[in-house]
């Protein structure tokens, strides 16, 4: 039995690596705060730009949600409001570095953040999108 597991375990590990090398798609979420000085059209154009950038690089946009103008909890770059935008997407793991460069070069982006979504997070987001009251709302003290 011991010999058997010894023989099997390295094989399993190798399998995992092969899948990864062939460009396994991961689930990510990007949140961006644009400066509030953007006009409506510029705001939409910026969202489109990044969405198409995901698609160009072999990714897939799952959901894109503009939060519109929202007040910040503390001032960023001397501004008290920001245009929030949340995008959920699937992409190969090497993609985020490319996107990061684009975001940092963009002057209209005040702040951005990537989040790696696990299976529970994907499930949660899908539920929230379909309008089912999220479970967290029920979790009172």
């Amino acid at each position: 039995m011991e010999v058997f597991t010894y023989l099997c375990s390295p094989l399993k590990k190798a399998d995992h690596l092969i899948i990864h090398k062939n460009g396994k798609m991961n689930n990510y979420e990007l949140m961006v705060i644009f400066t509030p000085v953007l006009s409506d059209d510029e705001y939409k154009a910026a969202q489109k730009k990044y969405e198409s950038f995901v698609k160009e690089n072999g990714g897939e946009v799952v959901n894109s949600k503009p939060w519109e103008l929202k007040s910040l909890a503390y001032p960023i770059a001397k501004k008290t409001t920001g245009l929030y935008w949340v995008m959920e997407y699937k992409a190969p793991s090497s993609f985020n570095e490319k996107l990061k460069i684009q975001l940092l070069r963009d002057e209209s982006v005040m702040r951005h953040m990537f989040t790696i979504l696990d299976k529970y997070a994907v499930e949660y987001n899908a539920k929230k999108r379909s309008g089912v009251s999220s479970v967290t709302e029920n979790a009172e003290v």
Partner: protein, 88 residues
Amino acid sequence: MARANEIKYLTAIKTDNRPKKYCRFRKMGIHYIDYKDGEFLKKFLNEQGKLLPRRITGNSLKFQRKVSQAVKKARQMAILPYVTDLLK
């Protein structure tokens, strides 16, 4: 011989039975804590916007870690403040 009413204890006997604390995430079957939901995360903060300890919220270690990660993410994205007064 000591009678029953003369027996003295070294430590006070517990008389009040507080309800046992529980982890609300375990109980409700929540697996993911959303950093975008600022109002929900405020339940785990005190008035200055600091994280409440586990002994008060009753969270299990696994979910306390997730809560703290979510709060820190929310702070980065200006959904929650780093420092404040009168948060609630």
